[in-house]
Symmetry: C2
Subunit: 214 residues, 2 copies
DNA sequence: TGATTTAAGTTGACGCTGTCTACATTTAAA
DNA sequence: TTTAAATGTAGACAGCGTCAACTTAAATCA
C-alpha cells in the first residue's frame, strides 16, 4: 500500500488557504458565475443548486451574501448596468468627434450591447422579478446609465442641433426608442446581417429626427 | 333525520348537465380564468393547481386542452392581442377624423391599453417563456395588431404628411417608441396623473416628428 | 338499440425548485 | 485564550410542472 502524503502536490503548486471551507470572495464569484450561466443558457437556467455545484459550494451558501435568489439576480443585473454604462460612456468621451456624431454612436453602442449581451440585457430590462424588485443600488446603476444619455443630449443642445427642451423628456424619448427597438429585435428578429444594420441606421436617424430642431 | 332529496333544488332552478364530470367549454374557461388571475396577482401567481381550484377541476385537467403551461399562457397572450388589436382598430376606423389625428389617437390608445392592462401587456410583450415559445396563432395575432399600425401609416403617407418610405421600417420605428415608452412606464414610473399625460403627449408628438416629412 | 372507441377529467408519484432551521467550522475580537 | 461573529453545510418542507395509469362520459358505429 502506498503511503499517502496528504495534499502535498496541491499545496506545492498552488498557494491555497489551509482549508477550503471558507471561500475567498464568494459573493463576487456568485455574481460572475451566475452571469456566466445566464449568458450560456438564459436566466431560467440559474438555480441555486446548479450555481453551488459550479462553485463547489452548498446550495444555501448564497444566503450568507444575498437575501434570496432575486437579490442575487439584482446584483448580476447591477453589474450588467455598469458594463452598459461604460459602453455608453466610451462613445460619449470619444475624442475629436462632434456631439451629434457621438450621440449617434451611442445609439449604435446601445443596440450593439443589447445584441451582444442578450441575456444580460433581458435580465436588466425585462426579467419581471428583477425589474420590479429593484435594489436601491440597482436603481442607482440604472440611473447612471441613463445619465450618460442626458449628458450627450445636453452637449447636442449646446451645439444647437437638438431642440432646447426638457432633458428628461428628451432622454425618455430616445431611451424608449432604443429600448423598444432592442426588445423587438430580441423577441422576433431572425434576419440577415445587412438588413439588421439597415434597420439600425434607420432607427438611429429617426430618433435623431425626433429630437432635432425643425 | 331529514330525508335527503338529492339535488332537487339545484336541478329545478338551474338547467344543468346530469353530471359535472365534463365541464362545458373548459378550454375557454381556463383562458379567461388564467387571464383574471394574471390581472389580479400577476403572471407569476398563475399555477395549474390554483387555476384548477378556481374552476373546480383537477390540476392536470389543462393538459387535455394545452400542451403545457406555456402553451396555455400563449393562448391567454393571444387573447390579449385580439383585445389590443381591437383597441387600435377602433381608433383607425373612427369616422370623420383626418388620418394624422387618428394616428396620434392610436398612439394614445396603445399607451392606454398598456397602462390599463399591465399584466396582459407584460404577458404579451415581456414574459420570456411566452415571448420565445410563440405559437403560430400567437404570432398571427401579434402581426394583426402590428398591421393596424401599418394601415394607418399608409393612410398618413397618402395624405402627404408622413414621409413616403418603407412601411415596415416606419412601423418598426413607431412600434419601438411606443413599446419602449410603455415598458419604461411599467417598470419605473411612479408619478402623478398630470405628468403622465404630459409625457405621453410628448412621446406621441416626437414619434410623429420622427416619421414626418422635413 | 347496444357495443365500442375516443375524448375529457382524476389521482398518485416523481424530480426539481427556493428557502427555513439547526448545526459546524473558521476567523475576528475581547 | 476565550468568546463572538461570520460563513458554509445538511436536513427537511412545501409548492411547482408534468408523466403514467386509471375512470367516466360522450360520440361513433354495427
Amino acid at each position: 500500500m502506498r503511503i499517502k502524503i496528504p495534499d502535498m502536490k496541491k499545496s506545492m503548486t498552488e498557494k491555497e488557504p489551509k482549508s477550503t471551507y471558507h471561500k475567498v470572495n464568494l459573493r463576487e464569484s456568485l455574481i460572475t458565475e451566475a452571469a456566466r450561466m445566464i449568458q450560456e443558457e438564459g436566466v431560467a437556467s440559474v438555480t441555486l443548486r446548479g450555481l453551488g455545484q459550479r462553485l463547489d459550494v452548498s446550495r444555501t451558501a448564497p444566503y450568507r451574501h444575498f437575501e434570496d435568489k432575486t437579490d442575487l439576480l439584482c446584483a448580476v443585473s447591477e453589474y450588467g448596468f455598469t458594463l452598459f454604462r461604460q459602453a455608453l460612456e466610451t462613445e460619449r468621451l470619444s475624442p475629436g468627434v462632434r456631439a451629434i456624431s457621438r450621440f449617434q454612436n451611442m445609439g449604435r453602442a446601445y443596440i450593439h450591447f443589447a445584441l451582444e449581451n442578450t441575456s444580460y440585457y433581458s435580465l436588466m430590462f425585462r426579467e419581471p422579478t428583477v425589474v420590479d424588485h429593484q435594489t436601491a443600488s440597482l436603481k442607482a446603476a440604472g440611473d447612471a446609465a441613463l445619465n450618460e444619455l442626458k449628458l450627450i443630449l445636453e452637449e447636442c443642445q449646446n451645439e444647437g442641433l437638438v431642440a432646447q427642451e426638457n432633458l428628461d423628456l428628451q432622454a425618455m424619448f430616445v431611451w424608449s426608442g432604443m429600448h423598444g427597438y432592442c426588445s423587438l429585435l430580441l423577441d422576433k428578429y431572425q434576419g440577415e446581417e445587412g438588413e439588421l444594420s439597415r434597420m439600425t441606421e434607420y432607427m438611429v436617424s429617426k430618433v435623431l429626427q425626433g429630437v432635432s430642431k425643425h
